[in-house]
Structures are given as structure tokens and as C-alpha cells.
Amino acid sequence: MKLTIGGETKNFKDDLTVAELLAEEKVQNPEYVTVAVNDEFVDGPLESRRVLVEGDHIEFLYFMGGGRPWPSPTNN
């Protein structure tokens, strides 16, 4: 089936779950990546077992912070 990941359409096996897609796409630290399927958030272990269907569009939203390791003595 065809899925669109981050704007790019690719072929995947049928009955792929969100969790399997994260693994297949080699997403690092998936527990800290927000996943949206068809403009809706997919949350937690339960929803990560959601089975994707042909034509779904999926976005991975990553944390982007800045220069300071956390924890830190001050916060800005």
C-alpha cells in the first residue's frame, strides 16, 4: 500500500501499524516523537497499534530545542 510520510509517498506492506512504521523508518527515540496521521495526533502505546491504510499521510514531529543540555543550572 502507498503511504505518504512527511510529504513523500512510498510503498509499504499492508496492515502496517504506526509502531511498525516508526521502526521501519528508523525513527530514533520514537517515544519522544509526535506522530500525526491524517492531521490527527496518534498517542501512546494503544494508538501506536493502529493499523494504517492505503493513502494515509503521516507526519513525524520532532523536538527541536537549542544549545543547552538539560538539566542545566539556569534555563535561558
Partner: protein
């Protein structure tokens, strides 16, 4: 309020814009914007807001200028190393546009001062470099119903979204809670291309100017993601989360919280 001849000349390229005009310029000159973090993102944002003639700019930062900052933090110069960033920033702004009133807030932004800090401003720009601060600013702005611009940068990538009270998702709708320490890379560990701060910080300045003057469509309900290696700008639609702990239907966060303190509390016997 009438413009002086100098103001008409200084802001002539704004005033000539049909959508902006003297009305837009007057709104900017009466506006107050707070920039939290006078670093990579805050530098270009502060300079363009100052150049644009925003009446009052607040700079909040507790750091001093470090040599490793200068690769991207263009508000500061080599001679400023060791100086408080807010002071160095205020000098740069004064040199660029002496008409701008600058408020200096030297010190970290914390749960016990953030509401007072943002209260006097019309728009907040989050130019901080860490997640506890980003969530703190988000929560404070949601609780105070204050529009703000979120941005983050790492390596060759940047992201941006604008929160408008009651009109779309907040930062917490998208990311829920800060990641644990070291779970995600920071610029110090991973690096960041200096000009990325310029691209994303300038976009924050544009969002502030648009919101302060009422021009165009703010970047609300979407996360703009920029990849410098491919030059792809992608605007990813993001919904409000009805269960969001701060802006959702049954909020559990009703006051700002410091995540560092929460972490220490967990370790306490």
C-alpha cells in the same frame, strides 16, 4: 501621533507597503514585544524588531556572551564576550534604532516570575534553548492568553509555530511534555548551522510583526519545518488537542511549573 521627518524616512519602505502603511507603523511603534533568550533565535528577532521600530522590546536572558555563541548570535560581538547578553543586546539595539525602548530582564525565567515578566507585553518570542523553558513559556502564555511564537533549531533543521489564544493548538498540544534529559540532542552536542538561527529567528520576527499589526495569516494550527540541506519548507497541519493539559477542555496545569524542581523533588527521600 504624527511622524517626524526622520521617522517617515526611516520607515518609508514599511509605510509604502499597501497592507502596512502609516497605520501599521503606528501600531508597531506602540507595541511591546518580549524576547526570551537573547541568543541564536533572539538575535535576529531583536534586530529586525528594533529596525522595524517596535516601540518597546524586552530582552530576558540570564547568560553572559561566550565565544562559542558568536557563530550564530549576531546581537553580540567579539568585544562583548563576558558581558551580560541583555546588556550587549541593548547596546546593539540602541545603535540600530535609538527610538526603541529596551527593557532588560537579566536572569533566568522561572515559574515564579514568568507571569509578571510577560504581563506587560503584547507578543512573546520564545528564543530559548531548552525544553523546560519552552514549556514554561508556553504554559505562561496560554494561562495569560498571550500570543507567542515558538521556535527551535538543531543541526540543519528548524521549526516554528504561532500560538494565538483560543484559535489553535499550543506547543504542549503538539509535544505534551518535556523530553527527559539527554533523550533528544541539543545544539551543544549535535551542532547547529549558524544561519539557521537567522532564518528561523527572522520568521519569528515576521510573525510578531504580523500579529502586532494584524496583517496576513499567522502560523497558527501548523508547524513549519525547514530543512536547510534540501531547502524544503513544510507546513504541517497540527490540531488542537482537546485533552491538552494546559489549553484543553479540562486543564490540569493551572499555574506555571519548573521542571528542574520537579526532577529534584522526585529524587528527594
Amino acid at each position: 501621533m504624527a511622524f517626524t521627518d526622520q521617522q517617515l524616512e526611516r520607515y518609508s519602505r514599511h509605510i509604502i507597503l499597501k497592507e502596512f502603511g502609516t497605520k501599521g507603523q503606528k501600531k508597531l511603534m506602540a507595541a511591546k514585544a518580549l524576547i526570551v533568550g537573547a541568543g541564536g533565535l533572539g538575535s535576529p528577532a531583536a534586530m529586525y524588531l528594533a529596525a522595524a521600530g517596535v516601540g518597546t522590546i524586552g530582552l530576558a536572558d540570564g547568560d553572559v556572551v561566550d565565544l562559542s555563541n558568536l557563530q550564530r548570535q549576531i546581537l553580540h560581538s567579539t568585544a562583548d564576550v563576558g558581558k551580560a547578553k541583555v546588556e550587549s543586546g541593548a547596546e546593539t539595539i540602541a545603535a540600530l534604532n535609538p527610538e526603541v525602548n529596551v527593557n532588560l530582564h537579566r536572569g533566568p525565567v522561572k515559574a515564579d516570575n514568568v507571569l509578571d515578566l510577560i504581563a506587560g507585553y503584547d507578543f512573546v518570542l520564545d528564543g530559548t534553548d531548552n525544553f523546560p523553558a519552552k514549556f514554561l513559556i508556553n504554559d505562561a502564555c496560554v494561562l495569560s492568553q498571550k500570543p507567542f511564537s515558538h521556535a527551535g533549531i538543531i543541526r540543519f533543521q528548524g521549526q516554528l509555530t504561532t500560538y494565538l489564544p483560543g484559535q489553535g493548538p499550543c506547543y504542549r498540544c503538539i509535544f505534551l511534555k518535556p523530553p527527559p534529559p539527554e533523550a533528544v540532542p541539543t545544539c551543544r552536542q549535535a551542532g547547529v548551522i549558524g544561519a539557521m538561527a537567522g532564518v528561523i529567528g527572522c520568521l519569528q520576527a515576521l510573525e510578531a510583526i504580523k500579529c502586532l499589526t494584524g496583517m496576513g495569516q499567522p502560523l497558527t494550527g501548523a508547524l513549519l519545518v525547514f530543512d536547510a540541506l534540501t531547502m524544503d519548507f513544510r507546513k504541517i497541519k497540527v490540531p488542537s488537542r482537546p485533552s491538552c493539559p494546559v489549553c484543553g477542555q479540562n486543564p490540569t496545569i493551572t499555574e506555571p511549573q519548573d521542571y528542574e524542581l520537579a526532577a529534584c523533588d522526585l529524587k528527594a527521600p
